[in-house]
Symmetry: D2
Subunit: 334 residues, 4 copies
């Protein structure tokens, strides 16, 4: 992993830089105009002639100076009167220096092939990832896993359990779906009714709801594990190993499971024309795989979709004006 080297503070542009300027926040949660907006790179602030690094570094936030020192704070957490650094220069000329050379490489205009950063044509260094993960575990770090339901559907569940049981997971962040399908797999052997070999099953569409109901009956995931309702899998391993998990909810979540953090919503649903726009077939197929069989699937980008739909709406509106009062239903162009 990259080790930070400090910049050369004796270089003229840093040695001769002025102190940073601080201005009071005009109201709670409101920053002064021209506040300095932080990056995720090492940042140095000149205060009384010395270059200092703020504590609690964070991107898209503000530099705040108080009696305890120099901090990075989110704007929404400020109180009226907090002293906030202002300026936009990142080269030290206004007393703030962002050390870009520390992590970002210097790219020159040189002719090279294969310069894209991420591509299926680039080698993946799994050995390095494995090494970092083991190092992190062994020195008491906090590897956090953010997982989606594809992990459970594709049957990488056993691997995830292995990572939890072997101490590589300090916390799990997931949505309701990950826990639901993991527990459905434990109780019924399916996920959304799909068997471990990928077959959809008759009546399988209700199994995730039955799984949720059993956990609700038990009161919590932990109690469902204690009572033997949930006997294996990711959530089981988290409970047994004491790994904390945060399950976030959405408006449309099934159930949800007792632990899911959600904002309650009320409302009914009626069958509606649904248009799903995405740049890959997958997203639309996923929607249909969840039962929204009536969706229009459009594989395109946002710009083109909006342009063309507007064009067609305008065209039909124009046609209507010129053709009144004839019927419209038969006029759809193909």
């Amino acid at each position: 992993m990259t080790i930070l080297r400090h910049p050369d503070f004796n270089a003229p542009e840093l040695a001769n830089a002025p102190d940073a300027k601080f201005v009071a926040a005009p109201a709670d949660g409101v920053l002064p105009e021209d506040f300095f907006s932080t990056t995720n790179l090492p940042t140095y602030v000149r205060i009384k002639g010395a270059w200092r690094m703020p504590r609690e570094p964070r991107m898209d936030s503000a530099l705040v100076l108080d009696n305890d020192g120099l901090w990075i704070r989110e704007g929404r957490k400020l109180k009226k009167g907090d002293m906030v650094a202002v300026g936009s220069a990142e080269d030290g000329s206004e007393g703030i220096y962002v050390h870009t050379a520390s992590f970002l490489g210097d790219e020159e205009g040189e002719f090279k092939f294969m310069t894209s950063e991420v591509s299926r044509e680039k080698p993946i260094d799994y050995a390095l990832m494995a090494h970092i993960l083991i190092e992190e575990r062994d020195r008491g770090g906090y590897p956090i896993w953010v997982t989606g339901p594809a992990l459970v559907h594709s049957r990488a569940r056993a691997d995830m359990v292995w990572f939890i049981e072997n101490g590589f997971v300090s916390a799990l962040l997931a949505g309701n779906a990950v826990a639901v399908h993991d527990i459905e797999a434990s109780i019924f052997g399916t996920t959304l009714g799909m068997t471990r070999t990928g077959e959809a099953t008759t009546g399988g569409h209700g199994l995730h709801m039955r799984a949720i109901n059993k956990v609700r009956a038990a009161g919590s995931i932990a109690r469902a594990v204690e009572q033997g309702v949930v006997k294996d899998g990711i959530m089981h391993a988290c409970v047994v190993k004491g790994v904390p998990f945060v399950l976030t909810g959405s408006i449309r979540d099934d159930g949800p499971l007792p632990e899911v953090i959600t904002t309650e919503k009320d409302g009914s649903m009626r069958e509606l024309p649904t248009i799903c726009v995405d740049s890959s077939e997958f997203v639309v197929s996923k929607l249909k795989d969840r039962g929204t069989h009536q969706a229009f699937g459009v594989v395109t980008n946002a710009q083109d979709f909006m342009h063309i739909l507007r064009l067609y709406v305008e065209r039909e509106l124009t046609d209507r004006k010129s053709e009144q009062p004839s019927a419209q239903a038969s006029k759809v162009r193909v």
Copy 2:
């Protein structure tokens, strides 16, 4: 649009079906074992010899009979003692009939090309979508738009404003990012610092935070519009036309804007090794485009990633055991 035809209730399997059976919910928010789990297809329930359709249809829920009639209810909303239909047969043989033929076609095992449902090789009927949208507006329907930030970044903003101003949007559901970048575009002409021709700008990374700060200073999006801070764009059009909007938040949202519905979280962030796994280059590029330059990008599926990472971790653990007490850093395989 599809018009529903009822099934033939005189067919022997329906005419001779028994009444559906109802069982009391054992606790608040808990369904009886073997509850009938609803679909999104038309459903008929036999009660005292007559086939009835429940009100408030909804998928993944339960059939509940009370003094006001037959309802579909989410399990979490039930009270102890509510009477819930049980059974899993969907063909009427247990008094519940799911009318699959109404919307799902009958697929026979016939040799055909081009049978996939969604593909970039399939024609898109924009004229039909336009027609439905106009019809929906004209008969007082409620077209709801769920949009993501790509819409704003790709400059489909003007088209979205057009749809709002012309009455095609009854409500807007979006995340914090859509409103932030729309307002940034209104005030600064950029989105995440990117110009309308797609160029990243120096210092541009702070502009969305400045936009948020101006709205926070005004107190709300509506007041920012009234005060002339926000002069055009999607949120401006919503405010002016009185179109309601729901902005949902996430843990990591910048700001957020005053109206964003969020669950408050506290915590600091430090630079950490980050691994981003997705089946398309886009997701990883997006992460890097948001400043997470240190992320490992892996273009693969969940199953393969978990398998291989586990394999490499196991391999390094085995190597460590056999090679103690030698140093590890130099042993990374390539």
Copy 3:
């Protein structure tokens, strides 16, 4: 693997079917009107009251009867006067029966989740694939591998060599690029100048040309292996193990390598505006990774691109007519 069961020839629709009708081909390489177009499913033809299966089954071809029996032949290979089966019915009613039930399942209109055939959310049965591959090798089958250059770039080269050396590859079909980058990796340790850890190198853009030149100097890939120019890798393993390979060429191939099958083209290239349209970022990034830095990248589908580009061209043409004779360069809309 699926074992074929014959249909029930005693079923009335087959037992009472007529003989198939054969008509003479009107010219060399031309089929009679209404020829029967074959599928890739088992097919039975009734001849003198008996159901017979044709030899050399093949999709998109014709049924031909000659003195040696019943064959499936591509249309382009027919001679004038060859007797070709006609008809379009596949249910036996015209003497030809396509046995769809043999391999295609019968899909009923039942409500199920997860019915899509291919998805990153479906489990992949690598164990089954491995089993089939081993079985195929052990009973003398012919596993044919068709590979693209991503295999070499991503450093799956060592695995491919392993499969060749262990007898799992009976033939290799690839393009010029696979062999070029494999040999570049053997000689220089790079592919298109990219190191094994994914870094682009200065001057690396010429290394694949130097690799090609060395093989051209040797005369062939086999001789380059014999002379010790190519010491390891995929092509080396093919030569050493005697695995035949077919390298297909394209108009724009670098080199190409001596063995590449190509249709010679002549022509020069000048820098031109290039527009690359694809539904994924990858294809456009790949083009840029090969040096076409000037390409417009458009991530969309064919239909939308054509519609919108035409719209903009029409718009500019209209503008030109109405604005003559003013200059155009400054009129580009944004």
Copy 4:
């Protein structure tokens, strides 16, 4: 469009550079060791103290000096004894200067969002593309279109015809499939049996073969147009407008059409286990949409696929050794 500015030849590193060195090609089609490999950027070669630009610029080729001047030539076209520039420095220090600053920007290590080059989140300037296309047509340029069959399947056919008829297409490069499906659409109104609204049709799988057969019967596409067999569409427009087209073939092409350039192959096809690996669902779905229903679809990258398949093969081989002589079929792991 970018206008090239020459470099400053008075700058010391260019003013004091030596002449480039030329070495004779050792054999026909073979370059000397250390030949200079060209890029697609403007290149200057110092000859007798003067900086000269080669004619017929081309990437991945060599600089050749003969009595007619300085040329860029592909290695395969050289004759023994041709004089070829050698060296790898691109900064003029060996007499060859590659002018990278002309087209490639200078990227500094500055913190910016949205720096990726191609993304669905980037605005597309269709107006600029339209402007370039019109300018190109009006000054007698040669816009070349390279199209795939998705264009025809998605019904962008009418737009393509419009571009041809309005003079925006000087040549068309395509595969057999584009012409076949365009002609199928003209004769039968379908593409691969799919209607213009995207429905697969019974018996439709043979329609493209019938279309091919009609063109073969006519003798060529042009004659099929003359005889009124093909009445509209892309190929029709090309013939009528005299736009040249090149249709390239592949081993597996249906037909092919008379004009398709192909290398003849002979061979039969039997049903085989087929594994299709790609990073998007689309490619696998496309294969199935063409009738290869038995294919294993694996959505992953080349590296992961090879690693995992090898792992599973090794595992089964190990199991076999240790478990002989028991039966294997029942041992497949899940």
